[in-house]
Symmetry: C2
Subunit: 246 residues, 2 copies
Amino acid sequence: MPQNPANQEISIAVIKTACSNCNLRELCLPYGLNLEELERLDDLVSTRRRIKRGDHLYRAGEAFDAIYAIRSGFFKTDVLLEDGRDQVTGFQMAGELLGLDGISTEHHTCNAIALEDSEICAIPFSRLESLSREIHTLQHHFHKVMSREIVRDHGVMMLLGTMRAEERLAAFLLNLSQRFTARGFSHAEFYLRMTRDEIGSYLGLKLETVSRAFSRFQEEGHIAVQQKHIRILNVNGLKALMNHRS
Amino acid sequence: MPQNPANQEISIAVIKTACSNCNLRELCLPYGLNLEELERLDDLVSTRRRIKRGDHLYRAGEAFDAIYAIRSGFFKTDVLLEDGRDQVTGFQMAGELLGLDGISTEHHTCNAIALEDSEICAIPFSRLESLSREIHTLQHHFHKVMSREIVRDHGVMMLLGTMRAEERLAAFLLNLSQRFTARGFSHAEFYLRMTRDEIGSYLGLKLETVSRAFSRFQEEGHIAVQQKHIRILNVNGLKALMNHRS
DNA sequence: AATTGCGGTTGACATGGATCAAGCGAACGC
DNA sequence: GCGTTCGCTTGATCCATGTCAACCGCAATT
């Protein structure tokens, strides 16, 4: 039986899972690299892994040796205190990097958990360091990514430190919307991958408060919400809510 | 009149302000470098600057081209929202780096303000990148420092998101104490460089709440506080306070 | 020594969000 | 098809912290 050329094409595509033909490359680590550089990065990012919804990509305390790029799916990271309290420190989507916190101590300091079936690319860190000693652009972009993470965290500190419940939730929705947009999805309609409890943990609120804020936004015509399905009806309304001094 | 050899020695010491004879090098960027590498770093870290108490090292929005190591003194960083609210995002002391947030957008995203007369070393960032392409150890340590900043920020998020007022303040004091210790100062007695308002901003509390928490700690015998002068009388008491679930 | 101002403390009261509790609907296993 | 579970919503009440206000004390200035 002769090979089906269509199938062959597909199987090649499956094998070639490298950065050079990943449509997220402009959002991810390869940003700004030329073709030759991209191929060198490909060699490095060979391992891809599926993570099922609910499974850990890594756990706090595990040895660190790679960072992870999200190829598809959705993650949360969280930190646990000895006394049982925990806090979601972030939600990550396709094209974003996970594991940067582990560089510091060579152990992961948080848990990364898939909120839907996901696929990640593992990037061995010492090899990334080697390569970025050779490819200036890669080095610089990696530094930018780390720095962006710091800036993002400052934004969350701002949110937790100075905003009230509805402002926090408005900021959260606008941030999600903006990130979905950057990935080519609708800015006005999306499914939340996380529960009210996880949103609350991230925003420093109880789940009931999150739920009430959603209801209030709906009453006021800013959004339509049905469980995890969100439609943003009035972006400017949300923006106004976000920095309306108490 | 003949040169006084003692003076000559001093003047040499003043000129030689490089990393290789800085006693903070084990806390700062040069960590782990050998002598030869240290000297190469010296070339890079040539500019030193004094910043008077209250002055800005940099402001949000300014172009970024260098990171700064604190040689002596004490800084705060803060972010301003359009509506006037601001949040202190960190306090930095000798040996710590400032300006990492600027790498991401090539503009600083926060203000860095001296809380006492300070001295900083400016490290031109593109030259740091060049050098760290050549010195593996420097590259790796720099990555660790950035990552540590991310971990630190997660700690603050934890604090702001899940802790109550007294827990936050206890955590804050213990953190300061630990950092002073690392610099060879007393772990039990120090002067706060910042006002109650600045502490409050950092911890997401109002200054009155900070003041009351201090008073309460004193009543309970955990600390002795007189204005900015703090003595920690019972470290374990504070630690217990810190993770005592409500 | 008196004046001024800023940072800090303390008290009285207000309130946003937490807590407790009940009920509901969608998803899932049997 | 039916119960069970889980996530969500909503209501009633409580409490930690914010808000407003008065006052104190140290330090700088004159």
